[in-house]
């Protein structure tokens, strides 16, 4: 006889806790599954921001979150990609836009035509053939029509203020029926295979059929109580600390993040409507926290306030779902705040849990396929991040030489070798980033393939040049017609005018 899940306790804080609670409540609340958030003290600070891939919009829609409401409440900004600067000392910055580059010509993918043209002297960057990258650089909001639909896959991601996002999620989750018990954790009662209940200081005790550990790196259930081992990936990630700060609003508003490398790590700017969050990942053995704060200000070119520091330990739980406890967010996997990965891992953790929501509390067969999928996704995202370090060209800087020298995981090594040979992208199962994204960063970092598809050689040069020019002209024309993200955002949340009228 099977026992259905009647209660879920989400133990944790902030985005993983409330996004999970909202999702579970909306998915199963109507059937009488009770969702309780055991809310531990927030780890968010006023400076924190949330970076989201375009995929988040789909999740929001399922959760009844209207885009304009989210952007207005969270000082949100559209983000079409991330710009990487100074990861090489000789190469210009490049944009990893959420989009493809060019269009296949005669059924041969564009990259090969570009490689051939480049070998013959073409001086136009690959990203110039990407509508998404052009729009990002011009601060535009992606709008599609029939013509752009067949040429581009560009979509808008977001930057959101973290605390307001959590407030919004909490409000929506509770309005949908999720319960909340706030406090600090006293102890966790175990069963041989899982968690029976959690008790807060003050005595409140919460039992449930299923637990979600959304407590961040603390991993109070998965890590501390169930002692699921944590597999460190620090051999590939040389940064061990994160500094978060905030600067004034940028004008005009950029439509992308900007990730800038420096001697001991990287610094990112993630513009919001009313301020500019700055995040730096760095190696604390090479630079002190105070020096980092100063350096961040210099790199950002703005005065930064409220710098806060926290540790960074990249890696993953060996089995995010263990017993009756599912770890989501950093309790399960911790990646660098690059490439919008952390929020996306939460998104993946939640959507897989909903798809594989257990049907029998006493026979949690779903855990194995869940773990397989989530870890597979995590490894692929991890590899995408490692690629930035592996391909850096900051020569003769010991931090960067070390990062470049670290032997990548075999899956990534294979990808890089294949691409270097011939511009083909090997994709595995459970990839967040598709061919166009890999191409964007590999070419951007300077990994120019040795060879290309010989079919590209068959196209006469004049025809190729004409096609290129047509594409560039098309992109320029379309981008001109797109509204700026500022204008688009103003429709929802007009900023006050500084003049009297």
């Amino acid at each position: 006889m099977s026992r259905p899940i009647r209660s879920v306790a989400v133990v944790g804080r902030d985005v993983p806790a409330w996004l999970t609670a909202l999702a579970l409540q909306r998915a199963f609340g109507r059937q009488g599954v009770s969702v309780t958030v055991v809310e531990l003290p927030s780890a968010l600070r006023a400076v924190d921001a949330v970076i989201a891939l375009p995929a988040l919009e789909g999740l929001h829609r399922l959760l009844g979150l209207d885009e304009s409401e989210v952007l207005a409440a969270c000082s949100g900004v559209y983000a079409l990609g991330q710009q990487f600067a100074n990861w090489s000392r000789s190469r210009p910055p490049f944009v990893h836009a959420y989009d493809s580059q060019g269009a296949a010509l005669r059924q041969v993918p564009f990259l090969h035509h570009w490689l051939k043209a480049r070998a013959e002297g073409l001086n136009v960057a690959l990203e110039d053939f990407s509508l998404g990258a052009a729009a990002a650089k011009h601060g535009r909001f992606i709008v599609h029509n029939d013509a752009t639909d067949s040429f581009s896959k560009a979509r808008n991601g977001y930057h959101l203020d973290a605390q307001s996002y959590v407030r919004l999620l909490r409000q929506k989750a509770m309005a949908a029926g999720a319960q909340r018990v706030a406090g600090t954790l006293d102890r966790v009662a175990r069963t041989p295979t899982g968690v029976a209940s959690v008790t807060l200081n003050g005595g409140a005790s919460i039992a449930a059929d299923l637990f979600v550990d959304a407590s961040g790196p603390d991993a109070v259930l998965a890590g501390r109580a169930l002692e699921v081992p944590f597999e460190s990936w620090s051999s590939w990630f040389p940064c061990d600390r994160i500094l978060a700060a905030s600067g004034p609003r940028l004008k005009p508003l950029p439509a992308m993040s900007r990730i800038s490398a420096f001697g001991a790590g990287w610094m990112g700017m993630f513009p919001l409507q009313d301020r500019t969050p700055v995040v730096a990942a760095y190696d604390s053995r090479r630079i002190s926290d105070e020096e980092m704060a100063r350096t961040a200000s210099v790199l950002a070119g703005m005065a930064l306030g409220d710098a806060v520091v926290s540790p960074l330990a990249v890696g993953c739980r060996a089995a995010p779902w263990t017993g009756n406890c599912v770890a989501i967010g950093e309790a399960a996997t911790c990646l660098e705040p690059l490439d919008a990965a952390p929020l996306h891992m939460i998104h993946l953790g939640i959507s897989h849990l909903i798809t594989l929501f257990p049907v029998d509390a006493d026979n949690l067969l779903e855990a194995q396929p869940y773990n397989e999928a989530v870890l597979s996704h995590a490894r692929n995202l991890r590899d995408f991040q490692i690629a930035h370090y592996r391909l850096n060209q900051r020569l003769d800087e010991s931090f960067w030489d070390g990062a470049r020298a670290a032997e990548p995981p075999p899956g990534l090594a294979y990808k890089l070798d294949l691409f270097a040979a011939r511009g083909a992208v090997a994709l595995y199962e459970d990839e967040t980033f598709q061919e166009e994204n890999w191409i964007s960063i590999l070419i951007g970092h300077g990994l120019i393939p040795r060879g290309h598809d010989p079919q590209a050689d068959a196209m006469p040069r004049e025809e190729q040049i004409q096609s290129f020019q047509r594409m560039l002209g098309f992109i320029a024309g379309e981008v001109r017609e797109m509204p700026s993200i500022e204008a688009q955002l103003e429709l929802f949340a007009p900023p006050p005018s500084s003049a009297s009228f």
Binding site: R140, V143, S484, S497, F501
Partner: protein
């Protein structure tokens, strides 16, 4: 039909009585268009009679006047210490603390055959933003203190910047005097003591000056100011008084020092018994308190004005007295009145110089060859009347649609009765956001829209064509318009920067 008196063989001698902006604009235009080969142009003015000139603002039509004269704009700006004007800020007219902008140029882009305003109204009425200024390039540029000339002919898809000037009126008069004299107009110093008329025809034949000179003429242009030496004192045209609708009848004016870079717009601030203008020039700022002496004394008004300057005063305040209204006829026989001689309305919408320009251009269009045809004269008068009435109604609207009740003056204005033509227009606007402007009117839909909405008359509905778009398509179009405006304004230099680069005067 009565037979005309025997006309002179041809009109040849044109005499302008009075200088100032009106007189010299007439002299300049006539000297350019009619020339001094077939005509003589004589302007009689007295240095003794001070001209009213103060810092004066204009509207974009003046660029047409300048181009007819063939004036180089940068030179003209330099010579008159001018700055550029993108519109007028109306502060405190709707209520204290509130401010709106009446820009040149239009809002948005007309789409599908109807005015953009309807799309904005749909958006606003459905709960969208309330700031339509964001969809107007001139407003955004004014907000950011920017200016540039954009009409160089290259198509950019970006909105153009429509502008006018703010200048020292006496320098403008002097500039035009130089222009006219270079083209053969003659200036005679003197005061008119007697006007000689033909016994039979009644036409004016000559003027006797104080020094004994006689100035003969075929056509006389009366630019003698409020007194209307020819049109009123001699020809008894009569004056239509509009004080009951536009009660202000005094102005105290004083220039003050410049304290910051000039903003590219005029400000009109509502006050307890009228309103105060602020016109930034390159070298100083012109200020004035336009008031009604029924509600405040001249001394009190002048005193208050002096406390409301943002820089040190550069002179003692001067008081002007006037009666708002118009000469019943501007053209009688062979005399055409221009400027203050033909009528006066407060400079709330910078219309004074424009009315001179209009008077001149109509005169040129209907310029008599030999005799004076009453059909033409009547036509001229009718058109001038229509223009005056249209401007009058527009000005009345500023006062009538107010939320202010804090002083007797405003209570009067809020409750006064208004002309039927205006009342109808306001009601139509309230229902569907259209002022139903007809072609010849000076103030177009966008001006009525800016002022009426700014004053608080918010339309409750809009044109049905604006409902045909889906909401997404509407948002997209609004965002695109906004983007093109941002792109335009982002590309403009600062106002002072523009002046420095192109047309900085010696004094500026």
């Amino acid at each position: 039909m009565p037979s005309l008196p025997t006309p002179p063989a041809r009109i040849r001698d044109i005499v302008i009585v009075g200088g100032g902006t009106a007189g010299w604009m007439a002299a300049a235009a006539l000297s350019k268009v009619m020339g001094t080969q077939a005509y003589t142009i004589t302007l009689v003015e007295s240095e003794l009679i001070g001209t009213v000139g103060v810092g004066e603002a204009t509207i974009p039509m003046i660029t047409m006047f300048n181009s007819v004269l063939g004036i180089d704009e940068n030179e003209f700006v330099r010579e008159t210490n001018a700055t550029f004007k993108l519109g007028i800020e109306f502060a405190g007219w709707r209520r204290e603390g509130h401010s709106y902008f009446h820009p040149f140029g239009q809002f948005g882009v007309d789409m599908d055959g109807i005015n953009f305003n309807h799309y904005w109204l749909r958006w606003m009425q459905a709960g969208g933003g309330t700031d339509h200024g964001r969809f107007n390039a001139e407003t955004e540029a004014a907000r950011q203190g920017k200016f540039g000339r954009t009409g160089d002919g290259r198509p950019t898809g970006l909105p153009n910047i429509n502008y006018a000037f703010q200048f020292d009126a006496s320098l403008y008069a002097a500039y035009l005097r130089r222009y006219a004299e270079k083209r053969g107009a003659r200036r005679t110093e003197g005061q008119v003591v007697k006007v000689e008329r033909n016994g039979q025809s009644g036409l004016i034949e000559s003027l006797l000056l104080k020094d004994g000179q006689t100035i003969r003429g075929d056509l006389f242009i009366d630019c003698s100011g409020f007194r209307g030496l020819l049109i009123e004192e001699t020809l008894k045209a009569g004056y239509e008084d509009w004080s009951h609708w536009l009660p202000v009848n005094r102005a105290a004016a004083v220039p003050c020092a410049k304290v910051e870079d000039p903003v590219p717009y005029t400000r009109a601030t509502a006050r307890e018994a009228g309103w105060q203008w602020r016109i930034p020039l390159q070298h100083r700022t012109g200020n004035g308190y336009v008031f009604c002496d029924q509600f405040i004394s001249e001394d009190e008004a002048a005193r208050l004005l002096m406390t409301r300057l943002d820089g040190a005063p550069l002179a003692e305040p001067r008081i002007l007295r006037f009666v708002t209204g118009r000469r019943r006829k501007s053209w009688i026989g062979n005399c055409v009145a221009l400027g203050l001689a033909s009528g006066f309305m407060e400079p709330l919408e910078s219309t004074s110089i424009h009315l001179v320009q209009v008077g001149i251009s109509k005169l040129l269009a209907m310029f008599p060859k030999g005799g004076f045809n009453p059909l033409i004269t009547d036509r001229y008068n009718a058109e001038m009347e229509a223009d005056y009435v249209n401007i009058r109604d527009f000005l009345i609207a500023h006062y009538k649609i107010t939320e202010r009740e804090d002083t007797p003056f405003w209570r009067y204005c809020k409750s006064m009765s208004i002309p039927d033509s205006l009342a109808t227009r306001l009601e139509i606007f309230r229902t569907r956001g259209e002022a139903m402007v007809v072609h010849h009117e000076l103030f177009k839909e966008q001006s009525w829209f800016a002022v009426l909405v700014g004053q608080g008359l918010t339309p409750v509905d809009h044109h049905p064509v604006a409902d045909l778009l889906s909401e997404d398509e509407l948002k997209l179009r609004l965002a695109k318009v906004r983007t093109s405006i941002q792109d335009r304004v982002n590309g403009l230099p600062g106002h002072q920067q523009f002046i420095d680069k192109n047309c900085r005067s010696a004094a500026g």
